[in-house]
C-alpha cells in the first residue's frame, strides 16, 4: 500500500435547470477522517457522489490513489472506493447476508468471495447473529451497521460515507461511530455531516461547506482556535428589554429570551453578566457556559446557523 489520497480539484456541479450545487471545491484527503460539515443543501451529498463516481462533475478532477475517477482509469479507481449513500438501497425482504452478497458481487467480488466477505463483514459490525433476518426487520442502527458492512466488503482504501450518524438515537450513533472509528483505521475516510459535534469528535480535518463551496478547513481544534476561541455564556431570560452590555461587550441576542456573550474567561465574566441583568431588571432563568465548537466557527465564518 503506497501512500494514497483523494485529491479533488476545482470541482463544479451544475444540475440541469441551472442550480449550481457545488462551486469550485478543492481539497485533499489523506489517511484518517475528513468531514464535510455544512447545513442541508450546502452541497455535501453532491460532492460525495461525484467523488464516489456516481455523479459526473460539470468541471474539475477527482483523483483517488493516483487514478482519475472520471477518466480512463475510472473502473480501477472505483475498485478502491466504498461508498455509502445516505440510504443504502437494500432489498427489504432479503436477509442482511443476502443483501451483502448481492452488493459484494456488484462491487466486483465473485459469488464465493462475496459470501465469505459478507460473513466476515457481518462479524465486523456485530450483526452475525442477525445475518439471516430480513432487512425490513432491522432497527435504524442495525441498518446503518449493515451499510458500513456493505462498504467494507471489498476492502476498499477509501470510505465515502454520506451522513453516517444522522437519523439515529444517541446510543445507536455512538455504536455506529465506534465501528467507523475502528474500521476506518489506516483508511481514508471522507464523510458528511450537518452535526457539528460529530465533525468535532470524529475528524482529523473538517471542511466547512456553505452554499456549495468550502469556506474554511483544517483540524477542528485549529478552526476553533482561529475563528471562535472564546467561551460563550448563554443567558436564558425573560423576553423583552434590551440585553445589557457587560464590560463593554455586547450580547448577541436571538430575540427570544436567549442572549450569549463571548468572553475571555468564563469564571470571571459570569458574575458580571448576572449582575448586569439584575441591574437592568431582567429576570434570569438559567445560565450556561459553553466551550466554543464548530457550530460557532460556522456561525463566525458564514454568519448563518448550522442547524436551523
Amino acid at each position: 500500500m503506497s501512500e494514497c489520497s483523494v485529491v479533488v480539484e476545482d470541482l463544479w456541479k451544475e444540475y440541469p435547470g441551472g442550480i449550481v450545487a457545488v462551486r469550485g471545491v478543492s481539497f485533499e484527503a489523506g489517511r484518517g477522517f475528513t468531514s464535510l460539515m455544512g447545513p442541508n443543501g450546502s452541497g455535501k451529498t453532491t460532492t460525495l457522489s461525484m467523488v464516489a463516481g456516481a455523479l459526473k462533475p460539470s468541471r474539475g478532477r477527482i483523483v483517488v490513489c493516483g487514478l482519475d475517477v472520471w477518466g480512463r482509469e475510472g473502473v480501477r479507481a472505483r475498485r478502491l472506493i466504498g461508498f455509502a449513500p445516505q440510504d443504502m438501497p437494500f432489498k427489504e425482504k432479503l436477509s442482511g447476508m443476502e443483501n451483502l452478497v448481492w452488493i459484494g458481487m456488484i462491487r466486483g467480488l465473485g459469488y464465493v468471495d462475496a459470501k465469505r466477505q459478507a460473513r466476515r463483514a457481518l462479524e465486523l459490525v456485530g450483526l452475525e447473529a442477525h445475518g439471516n433476518r430480513r432487512v425490513v426487520t432491522y432497527s435504524g442502527g442495525m441498518r446503518r451497521r449493515l451499510t458500513i458492512a456493505a462498504c467494507v466488503m471489498h476492502e476498499p482504501e477509501v470510505l465515502l460515507l454520506d451522513e453516517p450518524g444522522s437519523g439515529l438515537d444517541p446510543r445507536a450513533r455512538e455504536e455506529v461511530w465506534g465501528l467507523i472509528e475502528s474500521l476506518g483505521r489506516g483508511r481514508i475516510i471522507v464523510y458528511s455531516t450537518h452535526i457539528s459535534q460529530e465533525a468535532e469528535r470524529h475528524s482529523d480535518r473538517v471542511l466547512i461547506f456553505h452554499s456549495g463551496g468550502i469556506v474554511a478547513g483544517g483540524p477542528p481544534r485549529m478552526l476553533i482556535e482561529r475563528y471562535a476561541p472564546m467561551p460563550r455564556i448563554i443567558v436564558y431570560h425573560d423576553p423583552g428589554g434590551a440585553p445589557p452590555m457587560v464590560d463593554g461587550l455586547p450580547g448577541y441576542s436571538r430575540g427570544d429570551g436567549v442572549t450569549y456573550y463571548e468572553v475571555e474567561e468564563a469564571s470571571s465574566a459570569l458574575p458580571k453578566i448576572i449582575e448586569a441583568f439584575l441591574r437592568a431588571g431582567i429576570q434570569v432563568h438559567k445560565v450556561e457556559v459553553k466551550r466554543p465548537g464548530l457550530e460557532e466557527v460556522y456561525f463566525r465564518v458564514t454568519g448563518a446557523r448550522l442547524e436551523a
Binding site: 464516489a52 472505483r78 449513500p85
Partner: protein, 390 residues
C-alpha cells in the same frame, strides 16, 4: 465485462423470487392462471363455426362458373374465390382456417365441351365429425350441377353425350395438430410464453434506468467498478433466467392441462428456445427504444401496459392471427415477436422442419436483433444522461 456484476442481478432476482410474492406471481402464478383460463375457455374441440370453402378457378370457363353458382346457391357454404396453389390450400385446411377447397384446373370447360370429363379436385378436412360431412355436401352439389350440364349438352346436337361430365376427386387433408384439442392447448402454451416475453421484455427494457434510479441502486452501480454495458448485460441475462423459469412453469402446466408436444424432438426444442430467446431480445430492445418516453416507474407501467395489452391480443400472440378481423390482419406482421412465435408454431403445430421454420421466422429474427442493437444504443444514451443527475 465484469461477470460478477451481471450475476449479482441474477442472484438478487432468484432470491427475490423466493421472498417477494409479487415477483413470483408475475413470473409463475400469472402465466399459469392465464394459461388455464385460455385453455378452459378456448381449449375445447376446435369447432367449425362456418363452412369456409375456397374456390380456385383456373378455368374461368362457362362450366366452372356453373359450379361456382351452384355452390353459392346452397347458402350453407361461405365461398371465397382464391388463387392459392394446391399446397397452400392443403395447409390452410390442415390448420383449420379453411373447411374445404374446390380446385378447378385449366381447360376444365374445354374438356367437357369436347366430350371428355372435366375434373374437379375437392380438398377437404378429414375430420370424422365435420369434414366428411362437408365433403359430401359439396360433392352432391357438384353432382347436381354435373347432371344439369349433361342435360344442357344433350340439347346441343354437335356434342357427344356424357352422363357425368364432371368427376370429383376427393382429397382428404388430415388435420394438423392445431386442429386437435391438444394442439389448440399447445397453441396457448406458446402464446403464453409469448405474453411473458412481451411483457417482461418491455418492462425490463423501459425501466432499466428509471427503476434503478428510484430505488437507489443506480448510485450503487455507478460507484462500482462497472463498465458501460454492465447493466444492459445484467438485465439481458436476468430476463433470460426469468423467462426460463416462466416458460418451464407454463410448459409443465400446459402438459398437465392437455397440451400436445408429440411433434417436438429435442433438436426442435433447441431451435424453439433460440426463437424464444431472440424474441425476448427484440422485446427488450423495443422496451429500451421506448424507455426515453417514461421518466418514472409509474410512467413505465402505463407505457408498457398500453403497448403490451393491445399487442397481446392483436399481435398474433394469444389469438391466432388468421382469426383477427380484417383491419387487424397486418398488425402481427409488424411485430418481430409474432414471427419468432410463428416459427415455433410451425415446428410444434405444423411439423415443419427446423430450417423451414427458421425461414418463416427470419424476418422476426432479423428485426428482433436489430431492435436489440437499437436498444443498446438507446441504453448508452440513457446511462450517459443518468450520470448527470442521480
Amino acid at each position: 465485462m465484469p461477470v460478477s456484476q451481471v450475476l449479482a442481478e441474477v442472484y438478487a432476482f432468484l432470491k427475490s423470487m423466493l421472498r417477494y410474492r409479487e415477483i413470483a406471481f408475475w413470473n409463475i402464478g400469472f402465466p399459469i392462471i392465464f394459461l388455464l383460463v385460455l385453455i378452459a375457455v378456448f381449449g375445447g374441440e376446435p369447432g367449425v363455426l362456418e363452412i369456409d370453402v375456397a374456390v380456385v378457378d383456373y378455368d374461368r370457363g362457362p362450366f366452372s362458373s356453373v359450379i361456382i353458382q351452384a355452390l353459392n346457391s346452397t347458402g350453407a357454404l361461405k365461398l371465397q374465390l382464391s388463387d392459392l396453389g394446391l399446397e397452400e390450400l392443403r395447409k390452410a385446411i390442415a390448420n383449420g382456417s379453411l373447411s374445404a377447397a374446390v380446385f378447378i384446373g385449366e381447360g376444365f370447360s374445354e374438356n367437357i365441351t369436347q366430350g371428355s370429363q372435366g375434373r374437379v379436385l375437392l380438398l377437404y378436412y378429414s375430420n370424422p365429425q365435420s369434414g366428411d360431412y362437408i365433403a359430401s355436401i359439396i360433392e352432391s352439389v357438384i353432382g347436381e350441377a354435373s347432371r344439369g350440364i349433361a342435360a344442357r349438352i344433350a340439347g346441343d346436337a354437335r356434342a357427344e353425350i356424357l352422363l357425368e361430365p364432371i368427376s370429383v376427386e376427393g382429397v382428404p387433408v388430415s388435420p394438423e395438430i392445431l386442429a386437435t384439442k391438444g394442439g389448440v392447448r399447445t397453441f396457448y402454451v406458446i402464446g403464453m410464453i409469448g405474453v411473458q416475453i412481451l411483457f417482461s421484455g418491455l418492462y425490463t427494457g423501459a425501466g432499466i434506468i428509471v427503476e434503478r434510479k428510484r430505488d437507489g441502486t443506480l448510485k450503487l452501480l455507478l460507484s462500482s467498478p462497472m463498465r458501460g454495458y454492465t447493466i444492459f448485460a445484467a438485465d439481458t441475462v436476468t430476463s433470460m433466467v426469468a423467462l426460463l423459469i416462466s416458460a418451464t412453469a407454463i410448459v409443465v402446466v400446459g402438459r398437465l392441462a392437455g397440451a400436445d408436444y408429440s411433434l417436438i424432438e429435442w433438436r426442435d426444442a433447441l431451435a424453439m428456445s433460440g426463437l424464444f430467446a431472440v424474441g425476448l431480445l427484440g422485446s427488450l430492445g423495443l422496451g429500451l427504444v421506448i424507455a426515453p418516453l417514461a421518466r418514472s416507474p409509474e410512467a413505465v407501467n402505463m407505457l408498457v401496459n398500453s403497448i403490451a395489452f393491445p399487442l397481446m391480443f392483436l399481435g398474433g400472440i394469444i389469438i391466432p392471427a388468421f382469426i383477427l378481423p380484417e383491419w387487424a390482419q397486418d398488425i402481427p406482421k409488424a411485430l418481430p415477436l409474432y414471427w419468432c412465435l410463428e416459427g415455433v408454431r410451425r415446428i410444434v403445430l405444423y411439423n415443419y422442419g427446423i430450417g423451414e421454420a427458421l425461414g418463416v421466422a427470419l424476418p422476426g429474427i432479423i428485426a428482433s436483433l436489430a431492435l436489440y442493437i437499437a436498444g443498446a444504443i438507446v441504453y448508452r444514451r440513457l446511462l450517459e444522461k443518468s450520470v448527470e443527475i442521480v
